[in-house]
Amino acid sequence: MGVATSGIADSPITILVDDDATVRDALEELLNSVGIDTMSFSSGQELLDAKLPDRPGCLVLDVRMPGLSGLDLQHVLATKGILTPIVFLTGHGDIAMGVQAMKAGAVDFLTKPVRDQTFLDAVSTAIANDVARRAASTVSRKNVALYEILTPREREVLRLVVSGAINKQIASDLGISEITVKLHRSNMMKKMNARSISHLFNVWQSLPVDSR
């Protein structure tokens, strides 16, 4: 395992897995030259055994490797809930493999030898995706916390508000007076830090479906 890092905790890191040492070394060299930290492993198992840093970044996997192939590794990571974006490199272009990888959520599928800029672009995109994903997941976590302090009645009102119902409909649906609906609604808007209905809708959208 090789690690090249600038030591900044939130700076992105690219993790390379390739059984060919020269390729691994050259790709690290390239990424380092544009200031991206790297970490490399010679097999998928090594990666799974290692403790990965909690930093935004991406994975660059070789498809053909002894032991776990790149696609196998992608599957194992997915089942472990590790959602770091993946860029695949393959020795000979195999459309079927590429399709499979892209369906499973890969950012890109590149054929060796890949031009340096193409590779760097793919890695950049993947890192940007990861940064956005991590940011989104931070907002989401915050909103879930807000949602969880709502009373059951307020949650019902929230669901009906975002589905587009007006106060009168909510009152008749829940079998309560319109005054009471207004009260619940203003409490709910305050607790959710929502300035407007459209803001509330965005907050609602960021909530994971299973927690709604």
């Binding site: 059984d19 060919d20 040492a21 020269t22 390729v23 070394d25 050259a26 790709l27 060299e29 390239l30 380092n32 030259s33 544009v34 010679s42 097999s43 090594e46 053909r64 002894p66 032991g67 192939s69 490199l89 020795g91 000979h92 060796k112 030898p113 890949v114 031009r115 340096d116 800029q117 590779f119 760097l120």
Partner: protein, 615 residues
């Protein structure tokens, strides 16, 4: 009245004689005494007859001279009587000789009971007169029963003869009866216990003094054991003949000079030899045996034959021989001489095998092999290009990535020269690696460039292990090198041998992917064999081979993403070096792939002192 026995006849004759003597005494007529003389001569014998003549003379003298009839003419009558009596005696004597002879023979010769085997006699008309006690004993009937059977019908004896033989026996017997020729017959006769045994019946006619047949005397001998031995011999002969004719090969015999005189049936059928004219035609034909061979083979065949016959050496040759339908077929011929104790050749034994089908099969196999090889080369061109691309992609990828880095370090502000220089070195190494790949591929496909020269396989093994060091480490494979420091050099192409070792070692590493990480070990052994070869064995601790025979087939692979070319290429390389490559499973688990190569001719005497240093 019929007097059947001698005794009866004798009694009657003596009675008549006595009556005549009495008559002579009563009527005083001496001539009646002649009858008594005749009776004595016939019944008692000629000496007694002579005495009877004397007695009759005295008696007639007494009659003639005691009578008072007077002596007139008495002396004359006596003399006439004596002369008549002597004449009568003499006549009877000469005519009784045969009969006396018969009686003497009858008394002194062996009796029917004394004949070994079964004796019998038949009357002139063919009716059985008597059989010896041995016959009765054999068929198991008493004399009385036999008498009844014999009285029953003309051919009563046939009931003791095997039903299958009766007809032929009867025919022969009738023939002899008609012609008087001796009868010789073989048939089976039933014993008292119901089993049948073979007998030989020999009978001759007995003739009287006129040559007329008076009866038949015969002897029946038990020849069953002989018959069985004969039939067993015949059976063996038949089997031997059958064997000679049915063994799926052509057998022929030749005189010491090489002239064929016997062909077995298969040969006759195959070559269409005319069996009716086989001898002259065969001799003529095979004296110039070579004429039957294909024109292209004749000279060689002739030389081989002549050499073999001249020196008396066994011969083996192959050639195309003309079959009866005119087709020339490949024949494997072998001759061996049979010699007597002095070493002189008695005859030659030859066998011919029709090996045409095999020869053709081999030929077509060779052609098919060539076609396959060509087809394989063509078909796998695209596959190979993929494989070559893969081999080249790694170093190229490294070159591209490093060049990108190199450019960026230089373009940085300020430029980072130390980093750039480091990357530049890497680029050179990568480019060298790519060039190496190209060299190997060229060596693989153009044999002219792959010139065998003495190489040290140990060095090749070490080089490959260095190349694969990273791979071995990343796969956690423990490497165990057991290289013979005295390993002689082999004549081979270095790059190709590297390719072979690389493929086999890589194969071994990949075979251990799904084995416990602590149990992955790869042992590489090099050793010298006594048959003038060196062996390199690569043994892994994987799961072994499901099908050791097939792993060298092209496109046979156990790996999900393998092409199945690696070991097939190894195989062709090793074979091109006149070596062998084989795979087997190891009892302790895992597989072993071994190749052997001949020791370099100039190096076969090399001793361990001049060897390279071990690991």
């Amino acid at each position: 009245m019929e007097l059947t026995s001698t005794k009866q006849r004798r009694v009657v004759a003596l009675a008549i004689g006595a009556a005549c003597v009495l008559l002579a005494l009563f009527v005083y007529e001496p001539y009646v005494l002649l009858v008594a003389v005749a009776v004595i001569c016939i019944c008692i014998g000629w000496e007694a007859g002579l005495a009877a003549v004397a007695a009759a003379g005295l008696l007639s003298c007494m009659i003639l001279f005691s009578l008072e009839l007077g002596a007139t003419g008495g002396a004359v009558r006596l003399a006439v009587f004596v002369v008549a009596a002597l004449a009568l005696w003499f006549v009877i004597k000469i005519f009784r000789t045969m009969s006396f002879y018969d009686r003497v023979y009858h008394d002194t010769g062996p009796g029917v009971a004394d004949i070994p085997g079964i004796g019998w006699s038949a009357s002139a008309d063919g009716r059985l007169r008597l059989v010896s006690p041995a016959a009765l004993e054999y068929v198991g009937v008493t004399a009385d029963e036999m008498r009844r059977i014999m009285d029953g019908d003309d051919y009563h004896w046939t009931q003791f003869v095997h039903s299958d033989d009766v007809e032929a026996s009867m025919a022969r017997w009738r023939h002899s009866l008609q012609t008087g020729e001796p009868v010789i017959d073989e048939h089976r006769m039933r014993r008292f216990d119901g089993t049948y045994r073979w007998f030989r019946d020999t009978g001759i006619a007995s003739r009287n003094e006129y040559g007329r047949i008076t009866g038949w005397y015969g002897h029946t001998a038990d020849i069953d054991d002989q018959k069985k031995a004969e039939s067993a011999l015949r059976e063996r002969e038949r089997e031997l003949r059958l064997l000679v004719d049915t063994v799926p090969t052509m057998i022929w015999l030749m005189t010491p000079a090489g002239l064929p005189y016997y062909f077995n049936k298969r040969f006759v059928d195959w070559a269409g030899i005319d069996s009716a004219k086989a001898q002259p035609r065969g001799t003529r034909q095979f004296a110039s045996h070579v004429e039957l061979f294909h024109p292209d083979d004749r000279a060689a065949v002739k030389a081989v034959f002549e050499k073999s016959f001249a020196r008396g050496e066994p011969l083996q040759h192959k050639g195309r021989l003309c079959r009866k339908d005119g087709e020339y077929r490949w024949i494997d011929s072998r001759f061996e001489p049979l010699r007597d104790e002095d070493g002189t050749i008695l005859r030659w034994y030859g066998v011919n095998f029709d090996i045409d089908d095999e020869v053709r099969a081999q030929e077509s196999l060779r052609l098919a092999d060539e076609r396959l090889a060509r087809a394989l080369r063509a078909a796998s061109l695209s596959e190979l290009s993929v494989s070559i691309a893969h081999e080249l992609n790694q170093p190229l990828q490294a070159v591209v990535a490093n060049t990108g880095a190199f450019q960026r370090w230089l373009n940085a502000d300020p430029p980072n020269y130390s980093h750039a220089s480091r990357v530049a070195k890497k680029i050179i190494r990568n480019a060298d690696a790519a060039a190496q790949v190209i060299t190997r591929i060229r060596a693989l496909f153009s044999k002219t460039e792959a010139e065998p020269h003495p190489i040290d396989l140990n060095a090749v093994i070490r080089e490959v292990c260095d190349l694969l060091g990273d791979r071995l480490a990343s796969s956690s494979v423990k490497l165990d090198l057991q290289l013979d420091p005295g390993l002689p050099a082999t004549a081979a192409d270095n790059v190709q041998m590297e390719q072979v070792v690389l493929n086999i070692v890589r194969n071994g590493i990949e075979a251990m992917q799904d084995v416990n990480i602590n149990a992955r070990s790869l042992r590489i052994v090099s050793r010298r064999q006594n048959d003038g070869t060196v062996e390199v064995e690569v043994r892994d601790s994987g799961r072994g081979l499901g099908n050791p025979e097939r792993i060298f087939d092209a496109f046979y692979t156990t790996k999900p993403d393998g092409m199945g070319m690696g070991l097939a290429i190894c195989h062709s390389i090793v074979e091109a070096h006149r070596g062998r490559l084989w795979a087997e499973n190891v009892e302790t688990g895992g597989a072993s792939i071994t190749f052997s190569l001949p020791i370099c001719a100039a190096d076969s005497t090399k001793t361990s002192t001049g060897a390279t240093v071990g690991v």
